[in-house]
Symmetry: C2
Subunit: 686 residues, 2 copies
C-alpha cells in the first residue's frame, strides 16, 4: 500500500506539471517577432538541438557501460538481491536527468525568440515571458526529480528500512549525467564565447554579437546548452541526491518516526515546490521597473511560505518527538542560509559594492593588476560562506541534539538541508531566466533591432547576469550543507554492508590522511583539466573564425558567415575534451577506495568536498566579479568603453569565463557525484 | 652530563661556521668592481639594511607581546613549571631566526657586487662567488638552527622525556619570525617589482633595471629582503620545527632507543650539514659551461653522501631494533622525494617542457589565454607532488611498521622527513645563490657595463631563476612530509597534558568537520590578503614613480631619480600590509581551538595543511611557469621581444609575481606556523 504522504508528493508534482503545461501553451501562442529574429533564433535552436543530441548520445554510451559495471559489482560482491534494482535505478536516474536537461533546453530555445519579440513593445512583458520560460523548466525539473524518487521508491518495494539503500542508484545516475551535461555544456559555452571574443572583439575590433562573427550563434547556443541544460541537470541531481541521502539517515530514526522520517525529505520538497509555484505566479513584470525587484519579491514570498510549510510539515511528520520544534529551527537555519548565500554572492559580484569596484579600479594600471585583484577577491569570497556553512551545520546539529533522540544531531543537519532545498524550483526559475534573457538579447542585437529594443533587453540581460551569479551561490550553498548528510549516508551504507558500526574517519591515520590529500588534489586537477578543455576547444574556434574573417565579403557584411561550421567544431571539441576530466573523477575515488578501503575513501570524499566547495566559490565569484567589473566600466567609469581600463577588464572577463561557467559549476556536480558514487559503489570498498 | 652524540652535533656546527668564516673572509677580499657598480650596490645595501632594521623592529614588538602571552597561558593553565622555559625558548627561537635572516641578507648585499665585478672577466668566477655567497648563508643558517635546538635542549635540562615538550617554544619562535619575515619581505619585493614593471616597462616603455626608473633599486633591494632573508628564515624554522617534532615522537620510543631516538633527528641533520659542505666545496665554476651542471652535480654528491651517512647513523643510533634496515629505507624515501620534487618542479617551470611551452603558445592569442593556460598549469602541478607525498608517507610508514616496534610507523615518516632535511644546507645555498645572481645582474645592467658582461650575467641570472623555483619545490616538499609528524607531535602533546590517549581526529564529527572547513578557508583567505597586500603596496610605488617620471630631467637621464623615496614608501607599505594577514593566521587557530577544543583544532590543522601545500604548489609553479614562458618568448620564439605574444606574457609574469614570491612562500611558513602554534598553545585547547 502506498503511504498517504507519498500521494501528497505525487499530487503536488502533478499540479506543478499541469501549471508548467499551461504556462508552456500560453508561451508558445505568443508572437515570434520579425523574420530576422526568427532566422537568428532558428539557427540557435538547430545548433542547440544538434549539440544536445550528440552530447546525450555520448553520455548514454558512458552510462550504459557504467550500469553494467554497477550490476557486475553488486552481483560479484554478494549483493545479488539488489544488483538489478540498483543498476535499474541508475538507468532511471540517468534518464530522468537527461530528460530534465533536454526539457530545460527545449523551453529555453523557444522562449528566447518570444522574449525578444515582446521587448519590441514592453520590457515588463519581456520579463514575464523569460521568467515564465524559466519557471517551466524549474517546475518540470523539480517535479521530475521528486516523482522519479517517489516512483522508484514505490517500484522498488517501498520497504522503509531497505529501499533507501537501493534507490541510491537513482541519485548516482542523476549525478553521472549531470557531470557530463554540465562539463560538456560548460566547455561548449565558454569555448564559443572566448573564441568569439578573442577574434571578434580583440583582434577584429567588432562588437559582441555582431552578425559578421561566425562564432556568435555558437556563443548563443552555448547559453542554452551550458547554463540551461547544465544547471538544470545540476539542480535535478541536487534534489535527488540530497533527498535520498536524507532518506537514508531517516532509516536510523525508523523506530521513532516510522516511515514519516524517511519520506519527510520528499514531502517537504514537494511543499517547497508548492511554495515556489505561488512565488512564481506572484512575479509580474512592470515597464520601467528594475526586473530584480519583481524577482526578489517572488523569492522572499517563496521563502516565507516555505518556512510556514516547513513548520507544519515537521509538526505533522516528526511530531512524535516532544522536541520537534528544534527541527523547525534547524529547517529555518537552512532557509536563512539560502538567503544569506544570495546576499553574500550579490556583495561579491555586484558593482555597487567594494570588491567589483576594487577590480574596476585596478584595471586602470592594466590587465596584470586587474587579474591580481580579481583573483584576490575570488580567494576572499571563501571566508564568509565557509563561516556561514560552519555555523549552520553547528546550529542545526545542535538543534537536532536538543530533540533528545539518538542520531538527532545528524537529522538536524538533514532538516536544514531540506529547508534550503525547498526554494529550489524558484531558484531554478531565476537561473534559467538568465540564459533566456541573454539569448533574447543576442537575437535582438543580431537582428539589428532598433536601439530602444536593445536598451530594454540590456536591462533584462543585466538582471540575468545577476541571477546567474546568485543561483550559482545557492547551488554551492545547498551542496555544502548537503554533503555532511551524504557522508553520513555513505557511512550508514558501509555499516549496513559490513554489519559493523562505522562512525570514525580518523584523519590521524596515515591512510586516511593520504586519501584526504589525494582527494583535495583531485579537485584542483579536475579544475585544471576543465579550464584546459575550454582553452583547447576555443583554439579550434579561433582558428576557424580567423579563416572565415579572411573572406572580405564576410567582413563587409555582404556574405553570411558559416555559423553551422563553428557550431559543429565547438560541439566536437567540447565532447572530446569532456571525457578526460569526467573519467578522472570517476576512476580516482574507485582506485582509492579499492586499494585503501572505506575509511581512507571517506577521508578522500570529505576533504575533496571541502576543497571543492571552496574552489567553486573562488572560481564562480571571481568570474562573476570580473564580468561585472567590465560591465561597470562600460557604464562610463574609469574612462568607459574603449579605454585602457576597459581593455584590461575585458581580459579579466575572458579569464573569468571558464572559471565561472565551466570549472566552477562542474565542481558543484563533482562534489555530489563523489558522494553518490561512493554510496553506490560501497560494496567495492569494504 | 651532555650526551656524546650532542657533542658531534655541536662539533659539526662549529666546523660549518668555521668554513663559513673562511669563505666570508675570502669573498670580502675580492674586488668590488667599478665605481658605478659600487654606487648601485651601496644603494641596494643601504636600502636592504634599512628595511631589515625596521621590519625586525616591528617583528620584535609583536614577538615580545606573544612571549608574554605564552608565559601567561602556561602560567594560568597550571603549567607554571614550564611557563618561563617555554616563553624563553620562544624568545631564543625568534632571535635565532631573526639573526639567520639578517646574516643571509648581510652576505647577499656584499656578494652581489663582487659577483658583478667577477663577471667582467669570467662567468666561472662569477658563479663561484655567488654560489659561495649562498653557501655562507646556507651553512650559517643550518648550523644556527641545529646549535639553537641543541643548546636550548641542554639549557632546559636535557631531560629526554620532558625537554622536547618545552623546546617547542623555540620552534614556534622561529616560525613566528619566519612568517613575518617572509610575508613582509615577499610583499616588499613584489610590490617594488610590479610597480617598477608597470610604470617602467608597460607605461613608459623603458627596459627592466633602467637607471631612470626610481623603483629599480627598491626592486633589487626586494630580492635580498624577500628571497634571501625570507627563505632563510623559512628554512631555518623548517629545520627547527621538524627536528623538534621528530624529537617529540622519539619520546614514545624512549624505552627502546633511549636518548638516541630523541637526538636522532639533530644528529642526522648535522651529518647532512657535513655532506652539504662536501657538496658545496665540489662546485667549481667553468667558463662557458652551464652553471646548472656544476650545481646539480654538487646536489647529487650531497644527496649520495647523505644517504651513506643516513645508513650509518640509523645503524649507530637505532640499531637496537633488529628491523633498523627499514628505517634506512624510510630515510632513503625522504632523500629520493627531495630529488623527485626538484625534477617535477623543473618539468613544470622550465621552458624545455610542455607546460611552459603551452603557456608561451597561448600567449599568441593574448593575455587572456596566457592567464587561463598558466592557471590551468598551476592547478595541474598539484597532481604528481600530491601522489609522491602520499606514496612517500605510505612507504615510510609501512617501513616503520615493519621494524616491529610500537609507534614505529610514525617514526618511519619522521626518518623520511629527516632524510629529506639532510640536504637542507645545500638547498639553501642554491636558493640564496638565485637572488645574489639576480642582484649582480641588476648591478651590471644599471652600471651600464659592456654587453659581454651582461651576457655572462644573464646566463647566471637564468640559472638563479631555475634554482629559486627548484628550492621552493624542495621547501614545500619537505614541509609536506614533515606536517604528518608535526600533527602527531601535537597529539602527543595533548595526550601528555590531559593524561588521556588522543589518537583519533574524527572528520565525521561535526565539530571536526567544521574545523576542517574553516582551516581550508583560512589558507585561501590568507593567500587573498597576501596577494592584496602586494597590490596595495604596489599602488603606492606606482604613484610615486609616475610623479618622478613627470620630471623631464629624470626621463632624459640627466637627473638621478630619488631611489631612497621609493624604498621608503615600499618599506612602509610592506610593513603596514603584513600585519593583517599575519595576525589572522595566528588568531584563527586560537579562536577555533579555544571554542571548539583540541580535536576540532586538529581537523583544522590537518586540512589547512593539505590545502596550504596544494595552494602553495599552484601559486609557486604557475608563477614560475609564467615567468619562464615570458623568458622563453624573449629568446625569439612566437615573435620574440616586443611582439604581441611577449606583451601577453609580460602580463602573465606580473600576475605570477605575487603568487610565486609572496603568497606561495608565505604559505610554506604558514603551514609550519600552524603546527608549532598549536603545539605551543596546546594547554589552551583542552
Amino acid at each position: 500500500m502506498i503511504d498517504f504522504v507519498l500521494l501528497i508528493v505525487i499530487a503536488i508534482c502533478i499540479i506543478a506539471l499541469g501549471l508548467a503545461a499551461i504556462l508552456t501553451r500560453n508561451l508558445l501562442s505568443q508572437d515570434e517577432g520579425t523574420a530576422k529574429m526568427r532566422e537568428v533564433a532558428d539557427a540557435i535552436r538547430v545548433g542547440a538541438e544538434a549539440f544536445i543530441k550528440r552530447q546525450y548520445s555520448t553520455i548514454a554510451m558512458l552510462a550504459i557501460v557504467t550500469a553494467v559495471v554497477i550490476f557486475a559489482i553488486y552481483y560479484l560482491t554478494g549483493q545479488q538481491a539488489i544488483a538489478l534494482a540498483t543498476a535499474a535505478a541508475f538507468v532511471v536516474g540517468a534518464t530522468c536527468s537527461a530528460v530534465a536537461g533536454v526539457v530545460a533546453m527545449w523551453i529555453a530555445v523557444r522562449t528566447n525568440i518570444r522574449t525578444a519579440s515582446a521587448a519590441q513593445t514592453s520590457d515588463g512583458k519581456a520579463l514575464d515571458f523569460s521568467f515564465r520560460g524559466g519557471a517551466i523548466s524549474g517546475l518540470i525539473i523539480t517535479s521530475m526529480s521528486l516523482l522519479g524518487v517517489s516512483l522508484t521508491y514505490i517500484a522498488l518495494g517501498a520497504d522503509p528500512t531497505h529501499t533507501p539503500f537501493v534507490i541510491i542508484g537513482f541519485a548516482f545516475g542523476a549525478s553521472f549525467v549531470a557531470l557530463f551535461a554540465q562539463l560538456g555544456g560548460g566547455i561548449y559555452t565558454k569555448a564559443a564565447d572566448v573564441g568569439a571574443d578573442i577574434v571578434g572583439k580583440v583582434e577584429a575590433g567588432i562588437p559582441e554579437d555582431d552578425v559578421r562573427n561566425p562564432a556568435t550563434i555558437a556563443d548563443l547556443v552555448g547559453d542554452n546548452v551550458g547554463d540551461c541544460a547544465g544547471r538544470g541537470a545540476d539542480l535535478f541531481e541536487s534534489t535527488a541526491a540530497e533527498n535520498i541521502g536524507a532518506m537514508i539517515l531517516g532509516v536510523a530514526l525508523f523506530p521513532i518516526f516510522g516511515v514519516n522520517g524517511i519520506l519527510f525529505p520528499i514531502v517537504m520538497c514537494s511543499l517547497g515546490l508548492l511554495a515556489s509555484m505561488i512565488g512564481i505566479l506572484s512575479v509580474k513584470g512592470v515597464d520601467g521597473a528594475d526586473p530584480m525587484d519583481a524577482m526578489n519579491r517572488g523569492y522572499y514570498i517563496t521563502a516565507i511560505i516555505s518556512a510556514f510549510f516547513l513548520a507544519g510539515g515537521v509538526y505533522y511528520l516528526l511530531g512524535a518527538t516532544p522536541g520537534w520544534m528544534y527541527f523547525v529551527i534547524a529547517g529555518f537555519v537552512g532557509i536563512a542560509l539560502s538567503v544569506a548565500f544570495l546576499r553574500v554572492t550579490l556583495y561579491y559580484t555586484d558593482h555597487h559594492y567594494r570588491p567589483v569596484q576594487d577590480i574596476a579600479n585596478s584595471s586602470e594600471t592594466g590587465a596584470g593588476t586587474n587579474i591580481i585583484m580579481g583573483f584576490s577577491v575570488g580567494l576572499e569570497t571563501t571566508a564568509v560562506p565557509a563561516i556561514l556553512i560552519g555555523i549552520s551545520l553547528l546550529i542545526s546539529y545542535w538543534c537536532g541534539t536538543m530533540t533528545g533522540i539518538p542520531q538527532g544531531g545528524l537529522y538536524g543537519t538533514a532538516v536544514a538541508t531540506i529547508g534550503m532545498l525547498m526554494v529550489c524550483a524558484y531558484v531554478l526559475t531565476m537561473d534559467t531566466f538568465g540564459p533566456i534573457a541573454d539569448n533574447a538579447g543576442g537575437i535582438v542585437e543580431m537582428s539589428q533591432a532598433p536601439d530602444e529594443v536593445r536598451h530594454r533587453m540590456d536591462k533584462l540581460d543585466a538582471a540575468g547576469n545577476t541571477t546567474k551569479a546568485l543561483t550559482k551561490g545557492y547551488a554551492i550553498g545547498s551542496a555544502s550543507l548537503a554533503v555532511f548528510l551524504l557522508f553520513n549516508a555513505y557511512m550508514a551504507d558501509i555499516a549496513k554492508l559490513t554489519g559493523k558500526a562505522f562512525d570514525v574517519v580518523n584523519l590521524a591515520n596515515v591512510n586516511v590522511f593520504v586519501g584526504a590529500l589525494i582527494g583535495a588534489m583531485l579537485v584542483f586537477l579536475f579544475a585544471s583539466l576543465a579550464i584546459r578543455a575550454v582553452s583547447k576547444t576555443a583554439q579550434y574556434v579561433i582558428e576557424e573564425v580567423r579563416v572565415q574573417f579572411r573572406d572580405p565579403a564576410i567582413m563587409a557584411g555582404t556574405k553570411k558567415p558559416d555559423y553551422a561550421r563553428v557550431i559543429d567544431i565547438t560541439t566536437q571539441g567540447a565532447l572530446k575534451n569532456m571525457v578526460l576530466p569526467g573519467a578522472l573523477v570517476i576512476l580516482f575515488p574507485i582506485i582509492i577506495g579499492v586499494t585503501m578501503k572505506h575509511e581512507a575513501l571517506a577521508g578522500f570524499l570529505m576533504v575533496a568536498t571541502i576543497t571543492g566547495i571552496l574552489l567553486a566559490l573562488i572560481l564562480n565569484n571571481s568570474g562573476g566579479a570580473w564580468d561585472n567589473a567590465k560591465k561597470y566600466i562600460e557604464t562610463g567609469v574609469h574612462g568607459g568603453k574603449k579605454s585602457e581600463a576597459h581593455k584590461a577588464a575585458v581580459i579579466g572577463d575572458t579569464v573569468g569565463d571558464p572559471f565561472k561557467d565551466t570549472a566552477g559549476p562542474s565542481l558543484h556536480v563533482l562534489i555530489k557525484l563523489l558522494a553518490t558514487l561512493t554510496l553506490v559503489l560501497a560494496p567495492l570498498f569494504i
